[in-house]
Symmetry: C2
Subunit: 352 residues, 2 copies
Amino acid sequence: MEQKVTLKKLAGLLNLSVSTVSKSLNDSPEISAQTRSRVKQFAILNNYVPNGMAQSLKANKTKTIGVIIPNILPSFFTKALYGIESTAAKAGYKIIICISNESTRKEAESLRTFLNGRVDGIILSLAKETQQTQQLEHLNRIIDYGIPLVLFDRITHKISCDSISIDDKKIAEKATDEMHRSGCRNIIYLSTIFDTSVDLQRQNGYALSRAKCRAQPYVLHINENEAFEEKLLPVLAEKSVDGILAADELSAILSMRTAIKKGYKIPEDISVIGFTNGFMGEHFLPSLSTVNQHAEEQGKMAVETLITRLQKDQDSPTALEEYLEPVHHVLETVIIHRESTHPPVPKFSGKV
Amino acid sequence: MEQKVTLKKLAGLLNLSVSTVSKSLNDSPEISAQTRSRVKQFAILNNYVPNGMAQSLKANKTKTIGVIIPNILPSFFTKALYGIESTAAKAGYKIIICISNESTRKEAESLRTFLNGRVDGIILSLAKETQQTQQLEHLNRIIDYGIPLVLFDRITHKISCDSISIDDKKIAEKATDEMHRSGCRNIIYLSTIFDTSVDLQRQNGYALSRAKCRAQPYVLHINENEAFEEKLLPVLAEKSVDGILAADELSAILSMRTAIKKGYKIPEDISVIGFTNGFMGEHFLPSLSTVNQHAEEQGKMAVETLITRLQKDQDSPTALEEYLEPVHHVLETVIIHRESTHPPVPKFSGKV
DNA sequence: CTGAAAGCGCTTACAG
DNA sequence: CTGAAAGCGCTTACAG
């Protein structure tokens, strides 16, 4: 391991000034073509790599994005992260990732460390606890600080920043409608992610659909540490359930598993629609009909929105920034029909 | 968004020198207790956050770790990343993550950007292409540069650095042995990650076990874009397959799925053991018996090993470093028996 | 106990 | 076309 080679060292060896070397490497027209190429060759020869910390300090930007997600194991977040990483990489940005583990404290801590100038902007999906308690001071601090923030999936409109989401309410309503049209009469809503914004929206959409059919909505919340069988099976029996809208992939799979083990047939006895389009649902037997949340696309949009914001900040004086309204991207979603539901029945279109 | 508050600004407002303010905030005993607390209070009042870039530049360390993984979607890597993130966070390190997408070029590019001093050390699992072609120059460059590198899971011993892995050969042999003892006679080896180090090791272990039974090994490689049914079903029929050792979770699930759809019963007709302990295998019907690769633990060990190395580097003069031999941690693994295999038959222990 | 100065490795107006 | 100087925001020997 040799001593680190710096501009200064290069300059010494070349008998040039640090400025000239720096300008040459940055291809400044100020410097003669000859010197430029000489310096560049010499730099390569010496394995020179500019110090990113010094560059960032000088330029006051880091070309890195801070990403905070509540959890990495559900495939929605894994895929979103993939979308974020690949889009950021293409744009020349690095990503620093933090997992809040659904805890507001951890979320706030990660956010605080991002105040130190290591990231140009932040992409975040809120922790369950944050959405439950609505403690948002740590987010507002970031905004006050002037660090661009983009929320995705688990968002809030109580703070002023860009966001990416899907229309959870609308698609949940549609999914419930479709199950109803295919013959399901006793559809329940099942969730393990209760009190998140997405859960609430999906629940609303579900309730709306039920109301249209003058059916009583039934919402079942199961904790991750609770026994699925114990909570689910009594409900299936009592309510003669023939349709389940599950707010996340895991609970969709677990309910199919539980039902099948008990002797129910899917979709003959019970139809199931889940959220997120992950491997688990795709490869289960029967494969899961599901709302495609476009996880990767959400990640991609989050990065693009953030970068756009960063560029605007750069162009316009800080005062102008107040005029830049937050943008809220709502992605179109779609239901992927697979084996856990009956074939979809077309909507009655007599009116048209 | 106010102007950023710096030491200089603080010093101006307090009528103190920058040095005194800096020392106070760092609780230097040089400064009187009174001044210290006055400065600290004032700093909090002004929402002062030290600039991390400047600190890193000065200290020549960043408290961040670069992580390069080939792919983020397979649950092994998702879980490993989780282990890395949580362990790093506990130790006060941030992680920058890059996904090589199994490409040597991308791996090398990410590695090159890590040369710029943004990370203190690197954790990496090799891209498939890198393992196939054995191009390792980009890794050696990192070593020459003196940046500590820890390899995990997909490792190589051709470069001199720390590594974390499991004994893939031994556990594959054991898994095959167990299927044999439970009555399987025609066990095949199935993989979609061929030519990785782990695939080769598992194949070796499998072959060893087959040899002990004087049985012919049969290795089936399927590409991700190939139709699973077309490749697998003929083999199942021709070879009267009654056992499958699958080198990854996805191919284990896909083979169960394919076999079940064709009318085979699992484990009655065919036993299946997979690798990685992920949700998909855990919740499939039947649930998958699998080798626990301790993904999270590997991630954790990788971070701990790296941090140990960083501390050694700090303590010892560079010359001494040559004497610090690489350490290779090989984690103990275990087979988790679930529904895709017959209950394990105890090993014949007459010798004891 | 406090402060002036140098330096981490860069970039960039400004002089010559 | 080249270079000296200032500065990004910190820390830390060294003086006083």
